[in-house]
Amino acid sequence: MSFPRWTEEHEAFRASVRRFAEQEIRPFSEKWQTEGYFPDELFRKAGEVGLLGVRFDPKWGGSGLDYWYTVILVEELVRGRDIGCVVGLLVQCEMATAVMHDHATDELRKEWLVPAITGERIAALGVSEPGGGSDVASLQTTARVDGDDYVINGSKIFISNGARADFVTLAVRTGGPGADGVSLVVCPTDAKGFQVSRRLKKVDLHSSDTAELFFDDVRIPRRNLIGEEGRGFRYIMGAFQGERLVLSVMMNALCDDVLEETLGYLAERKAFGKSIASMQVWRHRMADWMTKLEASRALTYRAAEQLAAGDREGDLTVSMSKLFGADLIRGLILDCAHAFGGYGFMEENYVARCSRGVQNWGIGAGTSEVMREIIAKRRMPAGPA
């Protein structure tokens, strides 16, 4: 029996998400990428099918399942061939909401998490700032206490769903310098002084809106604090595990889809009287990518297994998995695009379009350098200075 042991329920969920991706995303993906937008309604549709609360407590409208269902969700959504749209959905159901699910008060969960799970309110996660993204502990957006309120000042950048979010799960400085001064709050985007300063033009993932946000004396009630003051950094680091898993799965699934597309083409395309797929140099090259992809998937599944079991080693494995995946996807997609010859440089070609985005994968949820730092810190004594 193959690992993981998918049950009938896993397979039924996979079939359902696959159909959702095929019918609700794929037919529109080119249009959305051209328009730089996918409709808000997709959040509600996904909510109806239960895609936005897979791991969350049924009390809040979730399904209370483990990471394996998230793995399936991501693997199948990628088949919709619109990564920008998938990023938007995953920010909604994992990145911006997991911390709220795990740490917020019931009052906040009722107000923000429940409608996020149904897709009625759109969520964004605001951590990165123009001054720096990797060094989260040094973030500069402040939240000053004023009576029963926080008053927020500062700015955030590269925020997915940022241009249309109803609320931002926002990292702010409530205390002194360093990690212990960081807190997380829920900031409604209709609060006075909140501004989307610009929608950023990206090289890829066009249907995802990515924004720079500006906070000018934005006043929110103190009860919008998620968990305890000064623990925001820890919450963010905790939530990163899920994000990294999701990104790892996404990379593998995209590699899988691109490989499949490429193998199909190589079998049909002829040069010098024979199919490219019959040429040993390409057979070997593809065999290498298949092997690396299989290794990557095994590592990701191992991370999922550990995270699902609540094993702390999962933090380390998932960092390795994201690091490995980001390196893999660059080489694999560029090589696959190359296999298409001239077509691999044409806008009309799916693999060519994917090749534009290879740069992105080593950045979000901690860059590849940050992943290496985490791994080395856990596994490698530095020795005397």
Partner: protein, 260 residues
């Protein structure tokens, strides 16, 4: 009211199909399967009747282990019970063998309505639904594109050649074979799928249903001789030149053929 929906699991529409070694069917290993698209409309129609009031929806399918997934999906969408005829002896059945098996289930269940898809995406025969109707002695209608229920009757619209619509009254109990596009098919929600875990799924053999002699290649009157990819045709003429030149030579050809 009880509704029986018969569904078939077929290769996924995007699956790359290769002919098997002895040229009698496709290679099934390594490809993904899904519920026959026509059957999903039949299921949706049944679930809508259920949503509108009192109805029990029973789904039935014949096939190997993998078919459980199709049945779980149907249960996840809202069906109440499933019957799975999982019997190696059924492999290679012809349409009549399948129809006899489904009819045996229908006789056990005695539903008020049987809903099926007009045809299967893989076999394309459209033979099973009318056969089942005949075997259980129910009136039936095929290519159904709309239904309207009243006491003891269902008024259905049938799609005819060229888009014409035929309206017929079918007294219940009856069997309807539905055309695609009849409705908008729902997704199995994650909650529905988890709830489906507790729903009964009965596994039966052909012998349980008393149809052992009718199924399999042994029971089949229709045997598949050969499956093959059509050879590439000869004689296509590629027109060349500028767009205007191509258009005018195409027009000339059409005129030559007396089509214009």
């Amino acid at each position: 009211m009880k509704i029986l929906v018969c569904l078939k699991q077929v290769p996924h529409q995007d699956a790359r199909l290769d002919v098997n070694g002895d040229g009698t069917w496709i290679k099934e290993d390594g490809i993904k399967f899904e519920i026959n698209s026509y059957d999903t409309y039949a299921l949706e129609e049944a679930l809508r009747i259920k949503d509108a009031g009192e109805a029990e929806v029973v789904v039935a399918s014949i096939g190997p282990d993998r078919v459980t997934q199709a049945l779980r999906t149907a249960l996840g969408m809202g069906a109440d019970r499933a019957v799975h005829v999982n019997d190696a002896a059924c492999q290679g059945s012809d349409a009549l063998g399948i129809a006899k098996t489904l009819a045996a289930i229908a006789k056990e269940e005695s539903p008020d309505l049987i809903l099926m898809g007009l045809m299967s995406d893989d076999g394309n025969a459209s033979a099973v639904p009318p056969m089942v109707a005949e075997l259980v002695g129910m009136p039936s209608a095929t290519a159904v594109v709309a239904t309207e229920r009243s006491e003891g009757n269902i008024r259905v619209e049938r799609e005819l050649e060229g888009g014409a619509v035929e309206v017929v009254d079918v007294p219940t109990p009856c069997l309807l074979a539905v055309q695609s596009g009849l409705n908008q098919v729902r997704y199995a929600s994650l909650k529905g799928i988890m709830a489906a875990k507790k729903k009964p799924l009965d596994v039966k053999t052909a012998a349980d249903l008393g149809v052992a002699d009718a199924v399999g290649t042994a029971g089949a009157k229709v045997k598949i001789e050969k499956i093959y990819q059509p050879l590439r045709g000869e004689g296509a003429e590629i027109l060349s030149g500028s767009t205007d030149e191509i258009v005018s030579s195409l027009m000339n050809k059409i005129k030559e053929l007396g089509l214009l």
